[in-house]
Symmetry: C2
Subunit: 207 residues, 2 copies
Amino acid sequence: MKRFTKDNLISKGKAYNRNFVNCLSGFKSLNLIGTINTENNKTNLAPFSQVFHVGANPPTVGILFRPHTVERHTLENILQNKCFTLNHVDENFYKKAHQCSARWTQSEFKATGLEEEFLNDFKAPFVKISPLKISCVLKDKITLAVNETVLIVANIEEVWVAADAVEDDGFIELNKIGTITVSGLDSYHSTSKLDRLPYAKPIQKAE
Amino acid sequence: MKRFTKDNLISKGKAYNRNFVNCLSGFKSLNLIGTINTENNKTNLAPFSQVFHVGANPPTVGILFRPHTVERHTLENILQNKCFTLNHVDENFYKKAHQCSARWTQSEFKATGLEEEFLNDFKAPFVKISPLKISCVLKDKITLAVNETVLIVANIEEVWVAADAVEDDGFIELNKIGTITVSGLDSYHSTSKLDRLPYAKPIQKAE
């Protein structure tokens, strides 16, 4: 195994360091975040790999935003009208999802051809073909002193997902709906289920 | 598609709600966190799916801890001696990784047979067979007002990974080293690379 120090990495240049470090945490979730600017009704759609579980009751998610990137419109819209959608991405439209990260002047929905959808009077747009859609309402905003990244904490209001992907105990079979995962900044991956394991107890040695 | 509201979910019981909501963010990273209690030299190893990228320069990660769970020893050890390791998990030992979540009285290394390793005088133990190992030093601790979860922010010091898994631009081919991903609380998945996509520009419509 080769050893890399943080000084090694930085000496190899910004792009190298960014690619390397973005892979270190492991595979990441991929969501398209749908928002709307309520002043001009312009919708926005942006891919994020920094959405994570914060709590189950009430259902709560966190999203980490870099303040000076193309994702800024998403953050501004969320702070403006307090609501957004999360939309899982499958193999059929991950290239369009990636294309949403370009600096479009028009709405990313129009630019990429991903159709927008409004459900149940929620103020932010969903991605019509997404296999799992979530409406979220802003709860808190925390700026991390370490590097000025912004952590948005939000409550989940409603979820739309194929009923047959939800098992009797509430587990959602993400493989069944085709949700993909991302590594680093730009590498997309499908998954194969190895196993669901039972609650671990200290009875016997693991296999 | 079926619609689930947060009231629907909570009415189905705690376990159902927990399983469902833990799947909503999408696929998650899986890391074994290695720590040591420096008062009695007892090592600890615990699986976490809440490790995420915070920044590339300096290399920074975040971990979200629920305060009243079995993972508490990990948090206490980190707060005590400021250091810990992250260890990716592959198909060969994910069952042992899962077994580390049981409430053992002895060190999880001993209980599961995962061999511990100390590298370069770093105070916390690594998992010898892990394909990607990271040493981290505590930088900040933030308690989220929303539900008292604790966000640990840490700097990455050193990384050990197979040299041939690192591409010329710094990207790490996690598929090559076998890193797996997790969904919900207990579902493990291998991945297949679909594609790495170039930096998106607003030139032409996505395919």
